[in-house]
């Protein structure tokens, strides 16, 4: 108990500090509009009135956390899921594209990593491009890829999922290649003396020892595929989704909508990464890797 407190208390302090700063900033950023109203109305604002006004505006530059929570409550719990304004609906659209893309990206990444580890020609020719492609801004390709797939008659969830897959694929390849190569020469020799063939070496030695490398990549990958799905929705905004919601809100200057969609996206990301972390713990405990 004491140990948990030792770790949690500083985080609480930092989060509280962020909240205090947030409220302070929303006064600073929203005060111009408050002063505008008061000069037009011809009355003076005392400091407490100013603060009260900046924290309750309809279209603030920076909404306060409590305003955002109320807005999220209104657009998730109080709205029907089928409504176009329901963040649950948009969140689900984004989540389904993210998960589909993540599964595809991970499978493809693992297959490619196996190819790279077992085929030297592939290692020499493909691996440098995998690494180089991490240095180029892949997300810039998103509108193009969507356009290409649309022209090919592929619409709906697949274009979004392919961007998400594309983004989650690279961390998985890099992590898996490292992981599949992680058994030391001594271990490989050992299993060789047991006259294991290539398949057995793969299933009984290389694949199990890659697991501690796979999960950190999966954590990065699922966060990346969420970003990919959101950016893809900017181009495919007619289908809905959190990214589309942010873009539409941006056109009409509805800051509350942007913030609530953002916070939902952040919560989604945090949940997905936390689930991956949980899966990591369970699997590594059962496999005997646990710390």
């Amino acid at each position: 108990m004491r140990k948990i407190w030792h770790n949690v208390f500083p985080v609480l302090v930092v989060v509280t500090a962020i909240m205090v700063l947030w409220y302070a900033f929303s006064v600073v950023l929203n005060k111009n509009w408050a002063y505008d109203k008061s000069t037009r109305g011809g009355y003076e604002l005392s400091f407490s009135e100013l603060v009260a006004d900046t924290w309750t505006q309809k279209k603030p530059h920076l909404p306060t956390p409590d305003q955002i929570v109320v807005e999220i409550w209104k657009t998730t719990v109080e709205k029907k899921v089928t409504s176009v304004r329901s963040l649950v609906r948009h969140g689900w659209i984004t989540l389904s594209a993210t998960l589909l893309g993540f599964v595809f990206g991970t499978c493809f990444g693992i297959i490619l990593a196996v190819g790279i580890v077992y085929n030297k020609a592939m290692n020499n020719s493909v691996m440098p491009w995998v690494i180089a492609s991490q240095t180029i801004p892949i997300l810039a390709l998103a509108p193009m890829i969507i356009l290409l797939l649309n022209a090919g008659g592929i619409t709906g969830i697949v274009p979004k999922a392919s961007i998400a897959a594309y983004l989650s694929f690279f961390p998985v390849v890099v992590g898996m290649v490292k992981g599949l190569r992680s058994p030391e020469a001594m271990m490989v020799d050992q299993i060789h003396t047991w006259s294991a063939n290539k398949m057995q070496t793969f299933w009984k030695l290389r694949l199990p020892s890659s697991v501690p490398y796979l999960f950190p990549s999966l954590k990065v990958g699922i966060a990346a595929s969420l970003v990919g799905a959101i950016v893809a929705e900017l181009t495919l905004s007619q289908d809905g989704g959190l990214g589309a919601r942010i873009l539409q809100a941006n056109y009409v200057g509805a800051t509350m909508l942007i913030w609530s969609a953002l916070i939902v996206a952040a919560a989604l990301a945090a949940t997905l990464v936390a689930l991956m972390g949980l899966a990591d713990r369970i699997v590594s405990k059962r496999m005997g890797f646990s710390r």
Partner: protein
Amino acid sequence: MTYVFMAILVWGVGWGINIAISRRKSSRWASPISAVIFGITFIAMWELIGTGLEVSPIILPLPSAIGPTFVNSLPIMWADFVQTFVKSALSGFAMGCGGAFLVSLAIDRSDFLQRGLLPVGNFVAALPIIGMAPIMVMWFGFDWQSKAAVVVIMVFFPMLVNTVKGLQASEVMQRDLMRTYAAGYWKTLFYLRLPAAAPFIFNGLKICTTLALIGAIVAEFFGSPTVGMGFRISTGAGRFELDLVWAEIVVAAIAGSAFYGLVVLIERAATFWHPSIRK
């Protein structure tokens, strides 16, 4: 169909050469050469299959169409490059990484702040921060300042987490040794802890180069002046000027790789003593 067969032939030849190279005794150049052959094979197949199946240039322009567009629209490309890369990405990168570095020096002195800020930093680093772009556009206007702000937020936390990790990299024994030399905080920092942290700091910088360019480009999808790489890509894709868009992507790829390469070069010069670089 002949073109498609030629493409398959090209693929076979390229693959054959690569296998032959990999079977030979490994030399220093084996890997770069096969990477180049793979790249050339890929572009040749793109060209041949595109011609063979008569893919409409509206859908997928051929490399032979992208090349001339690239050369012809160099002035536009240059203006976009300056707007997006130099003004937005570089300034945001410098501010974000510099700020994160200073903050991590500050929180390094307090164990409490470390335990508080690191989980928050790790959390924020996983968030889809790119969604902050419309808000930054609202606060800082359409020009490069808002894009730089997005870049600052994107690079800040990865850099912070890496630098803090790096500052913890020196061992207790080494720090004790510095203490027996009567070195104070600053001397220990400059002669022991910063050099020990350098590999981690450079790792953070390398991650941030990619993030900076992505942030600057995607932020332009949310509103920008009529110049910039992200602007050109989103409007070009809307107007089906795909050869221009592909040329812009080539610029982005070159700029991104060059930026990354530059950081790697600096890293090699600065951490020449590290086992991963020392040969």
